[in-house]
Each structure stands twice: as structure tokens, then as C-alpha cells.
Symmetry: C3
Subunit: 189 residues, 3 copies
């Protein structure tokens, strides 16, 4: 956690629910609170990034009632796309395995966007819906496998609360020529 | 109803609302309860299928509050696509009429997904939103007509409750090279 | 306002909130009530059109709880598309600047659809989510700039309430060969 500990501290300890019996308690009470979700991300070597800044008159996520709607998340890492192009294209595209990893990065960025609104990812009670857009060569039909990168990350770090309804579609092209874009609706308490 | 009566029995009679005066009562009280929605499907020769099993860390539908969000539904029948390819493509594609019928099958599968969560389709108070993705040759612009296959089925079996907001878009390609994918948000009581 | 004053009258004065101190009051109390949102549209030279009639078994917008979900809106003006084709296509397409203006028209049509359900646009407390579909040549990656046309209009006429979560994707083709389609979820009180 050390390198970017500041980024993974929750700013809203007062709203954290108490761990229930048998629940993993990631850190001692004296340390800055880190959500169980972020602890599980850390076990996978992932530090939650800062939220991707808005590019225009929109924001990374909006709360309505007990739902958070994220903007479509690109797999940006430190503001850059690790790869670009269409999945399955004969020339210059990205392969399905690479795209699957990028979809997981989209999901991490979605969690960062959600955290920017609710403060503590342990407040998530359910990932309600995921839509995964895969920039696809018209011959590529493996969108479900690619979007599994996002679905499996959410399941791994959120447990039962991470199991969601989902659509996966193959689109012509995405912003910045990104291979993947993922949007999320999450319920929180 | 006979052939697959088990599949159309509701498992939650206790939660069924009572029929109101003048409302169609499909079966006598002694028989296993069948929802009015499923009775109307039966009139069209459609038996509600079992829910399409999840392919990964996602589920066919999720409840949040009084809404059910379905996953994107392909027009699978007994696990197989009746047709594949892009709509309007000169070679090897499917025509608009075929795609319209497939969109209706997507809607039936969405109803099965909703039933898997709420038990009885008569609990639906409104189809709130439908998004229809049509795998399209770039020259094909008749997506609204194709997605009407889903919209008209929902209107036919749900009446006023089936009239929804809708988006229809033409995408490059869909999972399994399906010509159509439909997702639904339904409100229930 | 004169030319289509009837179209911009609110039919639900009883539900209008009172203007707060310092808030712009567009018209004197004796005139038919015009929402502040429509007054700001008028400052931009935009008269809210009548709602685009449904093409099938769907409607322009549906209320569920305190949310309004719009159907995907095309940039129709008086029932016609001002331009058609894919954005960024070498032959016969539309340029990004034109598409951006069309996206703003989609947003205006979305406001008309919302008004058809809630009567008075000043009841909007938040634009929760915008999805912008841009019919794109596979080489065009500027979807965010195009969809900014919608985002900036919503921000301009709704202020803080207009700042939303958003997804922008590039699709193969849209209904009627429209360059843009925009759908909106709005929260209201």
C-alpha cells in the first residue's frame, strides 16, 4: 500500500460500517482506514488511482438516490492508454487477452470514480449493472470474454456484491481509439 | 401450456396480486398459478424458457430497489442462435424481417431473466427502458424497425405496462455474431 | 419567445418552485409561466420543440420513481435530420463540428421528452446520466468532443443540475443514418 497510501485512504471513516464477525479486517484500528475492497485490490497488486479528471461538462460519477452512475471508463493508467486499436483487427489491433486486461483496468477506474462520490468502497452493496463496449473488428465476436476482465475483477474484490447484470457489445471505435470502455451502476448504503 | 407447464408455473403464489374486477383470469384457481403475462405469451405460441445461464461473473438480472436490470439478451433458443451475422450485409447477413423476429426472442429471454428475479411477471408495473443493439452493416439504417420486434412483444404481453423508453443503435458486431441484443429495465411491485 | 410561446408555456404552474433570491426571473408574473430552463434556452435562440412522436410501441420518456428515462434522441428538427452520415468518413460523412451541433440538438429534444413527462423543466434536480452514440468511421476517435455538444448545452441551461455522468461511444450506424443519438436519465422533484 505504501507507495500511494494517501490515495487509498478513505476520507470518511465516520460512514464506514463496522466489520461483521468473521469479516476480514485489513488494518489495525490505529492506521488510516482502508476499505476491505481496496485491501483486496492491493492483494492483486492494484492501487486505486486518483479519479480520471472530466474532459468536459461531465463528471466521473453521479449519485442519484442510493445508486452511483459512473461515466464510461477508459483503461487509462496515469492518463495514458496502455494500448489502442480494435480488438481482433488483422493489422494494428489488440488481441483478446490484452483487451481483457484493459477491461479490468476500466473496472478499477470505475471503482475510483465511485469512491470519488461515496468515499468508501465498502459502502457498495451491489454492482447493479455493467456495460462493456469493445471496439471490435466486425469479425471479432468474443466480447463476453473481454468484458469478463471487468466482471471478474469486480467479483474478486467485492464478492457477492460484485455480481452484476451486464451487456457486452462490439462497437466501431471508442474515444482515443481505446479498445474497451466500461460503465457501471453501483448501489450503496 | 402443457408441454412445459413446469417452466411456466410461478413459484411465488403468495406474492401474486389479486386480479382486479374485469381483469382476465387465465386459469381457474385450482390449477397451478400462471401469470397473465405468460398466458398472453402462450396465446402467441411462446413458452417462457428457462433463464439463459450466466457465462461469467455476471447474472441474468439484478434487482435494485423496485427495478430489475437485465443483462443484454441474445436471441438464444435452447442455447443456440437461430441466425447470425450483420443485418443488411450484402453477403451472409440476415434480413431486417429475420432480425425483427430475433429481437422478439431477445425480449422473451429478458422476461425470463426478470422472472428469475421477481418470480411472477404480473408483478411488472412498467417496462422503463429498452436498449436494442443491432449488429449492422454500415449501410443499414432500419434499427428502429428491428427493435420494434422487442417493443411490440412487450406491448402485446404487458399492455400499458409494456410501453417503454427506448434506444436503438447499430453496432459493429455482437457476441457470437448475434444480429441483435436487447437489455431491459423493468419496474415491479 | 413569441413565435412559439404556446410551446414553451408550462402546464403545471402549481408544481413550480418559487424563484429563490437572486434567481433570474425571466418573465413577469402576469405572463404565462416559462421555466428558467426554457428562458435560458431562449437566450441561446432555442425554442423547445414539441416532443418527437413515437415510431412504435415506445414513448419519448418514462418516469420511474424520481427519474425520467428518455428514449434515444436523434437530432431531428421539425421531423427532419439536418445532416446524415458517419462522422469522420472520407466520403459523404459529416465533420466533427457539425456533429457537435447535432448533439446539442439531441439534448434539446431530450429536454422536450423530459418536459412531456414532468411538465416543467425547472423540476429537474440533476441530469444523472447521458449516453452519446456517435455514428463513426472506424478512424474517428473524437467522440468525446462531439458529445460535448450535448453536455455543454445541458450545463448551460441547467447549471449545476446539468453536470452529469456520461459515456461516449462510436457506433457503426444509427437510425435514419443519423450522425448522433443521445439518451438521458434525469432526476426530478
Amino acid at each position: 500500500m505504501g507507495a500511494r497510501a494517501g490515495g487509498s485512504r478513505t476520507g470518511r471513516q465516520g460512514t464506514r460500517r463496522l466489520p461483521e464477525e468473521g469479516e476480514e479486517l485489513a488494518l489495525s484500528a490505529q492506521l488510516p482506514a482502508v476499505s476491505a475492497v481496496e485491501a483486496r485490490l492491493a492483494e492483486r497488486g492494484v492501487t486505486l488511482p486518483g479519479v480520471v479528471p472530466p474532459l468536459a461538462a461531465y463528471v466521473p460519477a453521479v449519485i442519484s438516490g442510493n445508486l452511483v452512475y459512473t461515466s464510461g471508463q477508459l483503461p487509462l493508467i496515469d492518463g495514458k492508454l496502455p494500448a489502442s486499436g480494435k480488438v481482433g483487427a488483422a493489422d494494428g489491433g489488440v488481441d483478446a487477452e490484452t483487451a481483457t486486461a484493459l477491461a479490468a483496468t476500466c473496472a478499477v477506474n470505475a471503482l475510483a470514480a465511485i469512491k470519488s462520490q461515496i468515499g468508501d468502497l465498502d459502502r457498495i452493496t451491489r454492482i447493479v449493472k455493467v456495460v462493456g463496449f469493445v471496439a471490435s473488428d466486425p469479425s471479432f465476436t468474443g466480447q463476453p470474454g473481454v468484458v469478463n476482465g471487468a466482471s471478474e475483477l469486480l467479483g474478486a474484490v467485492l464478492g457477492d456484491a460484485g455480481v452484476h447484470a451486464r451487456s457486452a457489445v462490439g462497437v466501431a471505435v471508442l474515444p482515443l481509439d481505446s479498445p474497451v470502455e466500461v460503465e457501471v451502476i453501483a448501489e450503496f448504503t
